[in-house]
Symmetry: C2
């Protein structure tokens, strides 16, 4: 391992924190819409469904943006989290596989509140290619490289059947897309430096089933807590 140059400010935000920042951001934006100017860690934690100490520690990774005795200024915090998450710039998204799910995604208005723009839709089926979905023409998958280049696509969404997903991922990578969101139920194989996240409905259901079964079997006192359930 090469020793890194002495960085004055090591910016290593824990992964668990990164995953929660969007939740905080959403809660803050709701507060902002309601006209709230400042909020305590206790209240914000409540709105985000987390422990307040955890929230404070998470925010402390971004810097010291709170005021003791008062709380956090909502607007300022919204800006800081947005900046940290990279939402102050625009991200072009391409969706591949305009079937049931792909269409729902394309039509989904509040895509990512802000920051994300659906730039292109692609499919392989001649029936689908050429149609207009959510005010966008569905292009043929063969144009992927061209579309990525011309539209500056930086995030690829895969909503094809499982069998096609790896191939689509390969083409995304080939075209220079290094962020992929995968809805197909397969493990994608990508080179280092490419970031893949997956959304998997059936895994979520199976986890629910596991806990439900456990609750049904040996439902003694504390069984739910042991299973790590939502506690409010």
């Amino acid at each position: 391992m090469i020793s890194r140059p002495p960085r004055p400010r090591e910016r290593g935000i824990p992964e668990a924190t990164v995953a929660r920042l969007p939740v905080y951001l959403r809660a803050l934006q709701a507060l902002q819409d309601r006209g709230t100017a400042t909020i305590s860690s206790e209240d914000l934690a409540g709105a985000a469904g987390v422990n307040s100490a955890k929230l404070r520690k998470d925010l402390s990774h971004l810097g010291s943006y709170g005021t003791r005795g008062v709380g956090y200024e909502v607007e300022y915090l919204v800006y800081q989290i947005s900046r940290e998450l990279g939402l102050t710039q625009d991200w072009s998204v391409a969706i591949v596989g305009i079937g049931n799910l792909g269409r729902a995604l394309a039509n989904y208005g509040g895509f990512g509140t802000r920051g994300f723009r659906i730039a292109a839709l692609l499919d392989a089926d001649p029936e689908v290619v050429g149609r207009s979905v959510a005010s966008l023409d569905v292009r043929h998958i063969d144009n992927l490289e061209e579309v990525v280049r011309d539209k500056g696509v930086s995030i690829g969404v895969i909503a094809t059947p499982a069998g096609s997903a790896q191939g689509v991922a390969d083409r995304f990578v080939e075209a220079g897309v290094t962020s992929i969101l995968n809805f197909a139920p397969v493990v994608l194989n990508v080179p280092d430096g490419v970031d893949v996240r997956k959304v998997d409905l059936s895994i979520e259901l199976q986890i629910l089933a596991f806990h439900a079964q456990r609750r049904a079997d040996g439902d003694g006192p504390g069984a739910a807590e042991r299973a790590g359930l939502e506690v409010t």
Copy 2:
């Protein structure tokens, strides 16, 4: 495959392990379809995209189902994981909010490979109620309690707009549903003993954006690895 496990089952399977079992199960079923009889932890780990030591430790929580020098018998392991996850019984699922997403979910054939059955669709919009989606009549949300009772619904899926989600969750809980999968971008408030999981597209996109930005900023050597990217 009728004989119950020899020893009293461990009561504490780590949550992280539970979340991976469905991934292993899917990989195993793919192997099964391809006619593979046995597989080593190394190969299965490769197919599931995890470290082989982790895979072995995960499986060890279910029992000692491997054979040293040989590997795991695919069919047996499929059965054991299925049983552990509760997939040997049927789960009735009700979907509330038959909009873009709800329809996609309802039409999604391979819902959970096996074990999950969509038993009911519910909506509040008179335009939607009464229509037939995926061979099911969409019922009015006011019938939720009745539907849950009659169809034996044990898992509730929420695909309504954010503003309605808490209300729907409350009604699910009231009706006795203790497993909820939430697609709406809100933090649900539920009593102890109710299990809520969420699927949140925009959070995933924001996490991708964070890593993409980080890569763009200080893309030095090892930057990708530090960000915890897919490594294959």
